[in-house]
Amino acid sequence: MTSSCTKASVLDRRSTKVMITAVFTALALATNYALIGIPNVKIMDTLVFVAAFFFGLRLGIGVAASIWLVYGFVNPNGVDSFLMLSFLMVGECFYALAGVALKKSFVARDLVKGTKEYQRLSIVFGLVGLLATFAYDALTNFGSWIFRTGSLYQDFVFGNIIGVPFSVAHEASNVVFFATIAPAIVVAATRLGLRTPQDVS
């Protein structure tokens, strides 16, 4: 008990939060550049989700924004405009929201209680990943076409039809990553006794 409270207070420190944000950002950027040859297949989204799941919404949003501040400007495929970058950052925050929402659901409670139904939990993680990725793709496809047709509705429809091959690749890969990597990290961290401020409260 004492040990849990001590760990939680360490995680409350601003310096610890900055360090965690930096580590997750570095990990996401490293994997993004490693996977640069495979369009729209990235572990980044899963990492933002995991960061928010363990350390809360603010840290998750911090990771999402930090990643895109670097990846949007230092990218072999080209530099994003500020407008597009803002859509990408907001879209990336959907994964942080998904992580926090799942943390507050029965899934986190069952994991702490030591459930063995990993396959079912894996399905939940995969479906939440699909939902968040769909929202991200819908928003960013819209953002890539905004102000081009003269109607926001047409911008949305055109963007999402022309962008659909990339959306399908993104959503399929994220379902796999969210169903495998995310629960594996969550279960491993729980077994190792990671208690975040949210767990303690």
Partner: protein, 174 residues
């Protein structure tokens, strides 16, 4: 105690599966529509030929026009480019099924320069940077196209210069 998490949270799982199925159906429909629209070719499609003009602008004041009058109408612009130039490309399989052009006639894309794809929008008689790759361009809408080797300054195509200096440019063909 002995209940599985599915029976404990039936409503949650039902909603999650329904939303997931809805997303899959939506994307499958959009993908079908995209495939159908990007594989369209003039009627009659098979056996007919069209004339297509292609500009290759190397970005160093060197450019040349290639006028080909016997392009099979079921070809796409990648096939045409490969028939008139030496093309280096990376192929991405399904679902994108597209080639990323990395070099034309020995001029390679790099960190600073890349090959952008343009077409003449016949309605407005102006150049437009296409929003799809060469594989998705058939010769129903566009008959004058261009490859332009230009500096990578932004992914926002509205800021790019057209392949013919001083020519007009639009961001939407309509």
């Amino acid at each position: 105690m002995g209940l599985s998490i599915v029976s404990e949270h039936k409503v949650f799982f039902a909603i999650l599966f329904l939303v997931g199925a809805g997303i899959v159906a939506f994307q499958a429909g959009a993908y079908y529509y995209y495939q159908r629209s990007s594989s369209a070719c003039p009627s009659p499609c098979q056996g007919s030929v069209v004339a297509v003009e292609t500009l290759i602008n190397y970005g160093n004041s060197t450019s040349h026009w290639i006028n080909k009058t016997d392009v099979p109408s079921d070809w796409n612009f990648y096939q045409l480019t490969a028939s008139i130039a030496i093309v280096q490309a990376t192929y991405y399989g399904p679902p994108t099924s597209e080639h990323l052009i990395t070099g034309i006639n020995g001029v390679q894309s790099n960190q600073q320069y890349f090959w952008s794809l343009w077409a003449i929008c016949e309605k407005s008689n102006a150049w437009i940077a296409t929003n799809v790759g060469a594989d998705a361009i058939h010769f129903t809408t566009y008959h004058t196209l261009a490859w332009y080797y230009q500096a990578t300054n932004s992914q926002d195509s509205s800021t790019w210069n057209p392949p013919v200096s001083g020519a007009s440019k639009v961001t939407i063909c309509g």
